[in-house]
Symmetry: C2
């Protein structure tokens, strides 16, 4: 089952998304034929993950052009809808990046836009495979050439990309080489992408894992159970400061205290060299209800308010290495990107 699929029929175009809000208990797809459906799906996290959002941004412009031709939109309306798609979520630079990459092709037409979108999906998988190899080589060389116990946060697998994964791509590559002992998957509150999605992917691949509360990561790390931690990124500033799912920073601090490697694995397209450091990264805040309720049941008293940033920024000084498809950067040592 693919995370994102593009369908082009005589009746019109559609983006078929594996609905990640329903996993792991239900495996269902959502079909978006109109841009408002797609924007809603992005905001509800039916599809998420920076690299996946890059492809969704590009193909989403295709969806807009298709709807525009069906509904005879003028140029102004088309541009407004493209802006709405571009701003559906603010933190991951890839969504805006995907939109911007195909925007110049809008005058050329739907086919040209979709061609680039599909090419981006292919690039994404190739990049992930390359990151996987680089990350695996790095860890085996840095730690030891033996099966490793790794900790990860949120979901950076096939579901967050179009295939293979970024940080989870490194795990898959190591597993293919027989070098994974066990994976500790942070459950990743409030939306449990680790427990729901990463666990689902690891289980499907037959990789041994355990789910843990986010608050237990420091105990596992300082208790000597973990060889290294690795995460993805939604946006990386020029100095290496990296925005990623809320809770990543605490993992980095624990790795720093335990003196074990903390890796960010992300494509070059997640690097935002126009932003000098993390202070310039806009953090999305999400609804109180994500924290104060679960599966329709209240977890906090009626009237409780929440502090619910979707992302945090890990300062470069806590990041041992940033692994991209091109190379390994060492921000902890002051290397800029």
């Amino acid at each position: 089952m693919k995370t994102i699929e593009w369908r082009q029929e005589s009746s019109g175009c559609a983006m078929i998304l594996l609905d990640q809000t329903l996993l792991p208990t239900q495996v269902e797809t959502l079909e978006a034929r109109r841009i408002d459906q797609l924007v809603d799906a992005i905001q509800r996290l039916v599809v998420r993950g920076a690299p996946a959002l890059g492809v969704v941004g590009a193909l989403g412009v295709g969806l807009i052009l298709d709807q525009a031709s069906r509904e005879a939109w003028d140029r102004e309306r088309i541009e407004a809808e493209i802006d709405r798609l571009r701003n559906a979520r603010p933190t991951a630079v890839n969504l805006a990046g995907g939109v911007d990459r195909v925007r110049p092709l809008v005058p050329v037409g739907l086919e040209a836009v979709v061609e680039v979108g599909l090419m981006m999906a292919q690039e994404d998988e190739a990049n992930n495979r390359e990151m996987g190899k680089r990350g695996a080589d790095y860890l085996l060389a840095t730690i030891a050439d033996r099966p490793l116990t790794l900790l990860t946060h949120c979901n950076t697998g096939s579901l967050a990309t179009t295939a293979w994964g970024t940080a989870l791509g490194v795990v898959r590559e190591l597993h293919a080489r027989g070098k994974i002992k066990e994976v500790f998957a942070d459950e990743t509150r409030p939306l449990l992408q680790g427990a729901r999605l990463t666990a689902w992917e690891l289980q499907a691949d037959g990789i041994g894992y355990r789910v843990l509360p986010d608050g237990a990561a420091a105990s596992a790390i300082l208790g000597g159970l973990i060889d290294a931690a690795l995460i993805g990124a939604d946006r990386i500033a020029k100095n290496g400061d990296s925005a990623n799912k809320i809770g990543s920073l605490a993992v980095a601090l624990a790795c720093e205290a335990a003196a074990i490697p903390f890796l960010v694995v992300a494509p070059e397209s997640s690097i935002d060299r126009a932003t000098p450091n993390g202070d310039g990264i806009e953090i999305e805040f999400r609804s109180d209800e994500e924290v104060t309720t679960f599966a329709g049941k209240r977890t906090a008293p009626l009237g409780a308010k929440a502090y619910n940033p979707a992302f945090d920024v890990t300062p470069a000084k806590y990041i041992t290495a940033i692994v991209t498809e091109k190379r390994v950067y060492h921000p902890e040592q002051g290397e800029s990107l």
Copy 2:
């Protein structure tokens, strides 16, 4: 509504516990008349919190003596049941401490045991009031004499003690002095004592608060939103290493990185001077289901295993101060207890 109540009637004795597994949506009590009911209630966290468990340990011996007289137990059976109560949960030293305090009175009889148990409850409240004052004085002197924004983890209020609270007692004292701006309450996965219990207590007292995912604490702390963090303790080793609810360590590391105070507030009875450091503290591991399910709904794939320690140990070097009813210790500066 009291956390723990002792009832002695002609028909026998009973411990009435506010059922903390049902809060905040249901406010119900559980009546324990037999020791197996009480041990089950302790293990299911119907009653929890180190100081509360001290009182439960002492009064629980009373419950055993009452049942023993009804059911004509011999001395051996009584001792075995007392041991079972003492070992119902391993990490909080107070449970064993409460049992041990009244055990020499077993030959004297039920009344003597219960008298000490009820006296411990009174001492607990008086100690908490004293800790509250010391902690409040310390924070206002160390940070600034202005309304503070404080972060706390798990529940250390009336529900974890018999009244007022330890770390939350400091919050209550500061609130009474008009010196609380806002409290950030970590939700405290997996059992959500922060979202369910601390939020409930703060709301009842009209103290402004927000609930946050445990993983968001580091972001709030390094983002400059928090003046200090304060927690309770289940056991404090002689060197100051402190065991507390899982997730406490990550809060301490974030405070260290942000250079803000991290306080442990606990009675002298939580100090275990026979244990030189944290390595000697036994950590309770709890069931996988606490992590992999929520309210009967799966949060992880069928077959998922978990890493679910109930506590972690924060090394003394990350603890700015330990506040007890007697004094303020400074473990970060190498002071032993």
